[in-house]
């Protein structure tokens, strides 16, 4: 079984995000970037499956600017066999990402495609579902447990009402929840070894995908600040304020 894992480079989850003064986006200069956390879970799961002898090859793919290659390198350092970097600048919308991944799938013919359930920057939660629609493959979103059974997967999904168990046929697209596993750290020798693993470089144009945005971002702003609370001295005052100011009773 061959697994393709898609990874995205985002602002590190520990960074305090700041909005640019002109409202055109968020500050990314001199900000620590890293792999989107649920994508780390996706890589980890693929590596575990390979370690269990159920996968033969793991290919890590990323789509983005020059430096996005770091995320592929990191995936190689924790166990992926080779990488693909589709170079493209600016915002790439989930639909364009799905179309690019579709072309990669056509080329690589993996049995499974893994990725995080959503990116922590734009919080879209769309790419996996879109890819699965374009490929006409089954989808298993928000996976928190994956069991491989012959040519099927038994997957436990995290949904609002609790947990849902589904069975999907292979090939399939699986999007991973943070609860799926605990991603490992790359060891220094493996980081060194990863530098020698091959990464193919492509462009969206090479793949014949129109990645032009369909949605325009007008501005990014901070949410309204929550007003400070006030203290009341008596129950009577509280009731009076609830009645006349808040008008809730």
């Amino acid at each position: 079984m061959k697994i393709l894992v898609a990874v995205k480079r985002v602002i590190d989850y520990n960074v305090q995000i700041r909005v640019k003064e002109d409202g055109t986006g968020v500050v990314t200069d001199n900000v620590k970037m890293s792999t989107n956390p649920p994508d780390d879970n996706a890589i980890e799961e693929a590596v575990k499956i390979k370690e269990a002898g159920k996968a033969t090859e793991i290919v890590a793919v990323t789509i983005g600017e020059e430096k996005a290659q770091e995320t592929v390198r990191k995936a190689l350092a924790v166990g992926a066999d080779r990488g693909i970097h589709v170079k493209i600048d600016g915002i790439v919308e989930p639909l364009a990402v799905a179309k690019i991944l579709q072309k990669i799938v056509d080329k690589e013919k993996p049995d499974l495609v893994f990725m995080g359930k959503q990116a922590i920057d734009d919080d879209c939660n769309q790419t996996g579902q879109m890819l699965s629609a374009l490929l006409n493959w089954p989808q298993a979103t928000f996976a928190s447990k994956i069991d491989i059974k012959d040519n099927k997967l038994e997957i436990i999904r995290e949904i609002d009402e609790g947990l849902e168990t589904i069975e999907v046929n292979v090939p399939a697209v699986v999007t991973c929840d943070l609860r799926l596993n605990e991603p490992r750290y790359a060891s220094l020798p493996n980081i060194m070894k990863a530098k020698k693993k091959p990464i193919d470089e492509l462009s969206a144009a090479d793949l014949g995908v129109d990645a032009a945005p369909r949605v325009q971002q007008i501005k990014v702003e901070e949410p309204p600040k929550r007003k400070a609370g006030i203290k009341v001295s008596s129950v009577a005052e509280l009731v009076q304020k609830l009645k006349n100011e808040a008008k809730v009773i």
């Binding site: 602002i11 995000i17 909005v19 968020v26 919308e93 989930p94 639909l95 799905a98 922590i120 920057d121 734009d122 919080d123 879209c124 939660n125 769309q126 790419t127 996996g128 579902q129 879109m130 890819l131 699965s132 629609a133 374009l134 089954p138 989808q139 979103t141 928000f142 999904r157 995290e158 949904i159 609002d160 589904i166 945005p213 369909r214 949605v215 325009q216 971002q217 007008i218 501005k219 990014v220 702003e221 901070e222 949410p223």
Partner: protein, 144 residues
């Protein structure tokens, strides 16, 4: 143009988040049609028809719709959405599972998790885990 709203339910009753989606849909255009897909879900259809903002209920029943699988729902919604400008659903795990599949089949981008409708093509949505707000203008017509 009219709005197609996909109702979330459990074949017996409507899920409350659908009501939020109905209100949001009505802010885009007042002609909201609810699409109900399921199995033996007539009670839900009745409940939907009693909501004042819903102008029309379209009910689709089949045994393979019983478990709300997006692989089965998406082709039906794509077909049903032909005469609508927007497709709207709740932004919970039901909508998140289903809507991108529909958007991809329609070859349109999707606007996820909207918290405010500014105009039929302009929305506000949270980004960075709701730490910041993004004002978007969709250059396409079908949104989720």
């Amino acid at each position: 143009m009219s709005i197609l709203l996909i109702a979330e339910h459990n074949n017996k009753e409507l899920r409350p988040f659908t009501l939020n989606a109905i209100t949001a849909a009505s802010q885009i255009d007042s002609d909201v049609h609810a699409l109900l897909i399921g199995n033996n879900c007539s009670e839900v259809a009745k409940a939907l028809s009693e909501i004042p903002l819903v102008k029309k209920v379209i009910q689709a029943e089949a045994s393979h719709y019983e478990n709300f699988l997006p692989e089965n729902f998406a082709p039906l919604v794509v077909k049903a959405s032909e005469n609508y400008s927007h497709v709207v659903s709740s932004a919970n795990t039901f909508g998140k599972n289903l809507m991108p599949r529909i958007a991809a089949l329609l070859d349109t981008s999707q606007v996820s998790d909207i918290i405010k409708v500014i105009s039929p093509d302009t929305f506000i949505r949270p980004i960075y885990a709701a730490m910041h707000l993004q004002l978007l203008k969709a250059m396409i017509q079908k949104n989720a």
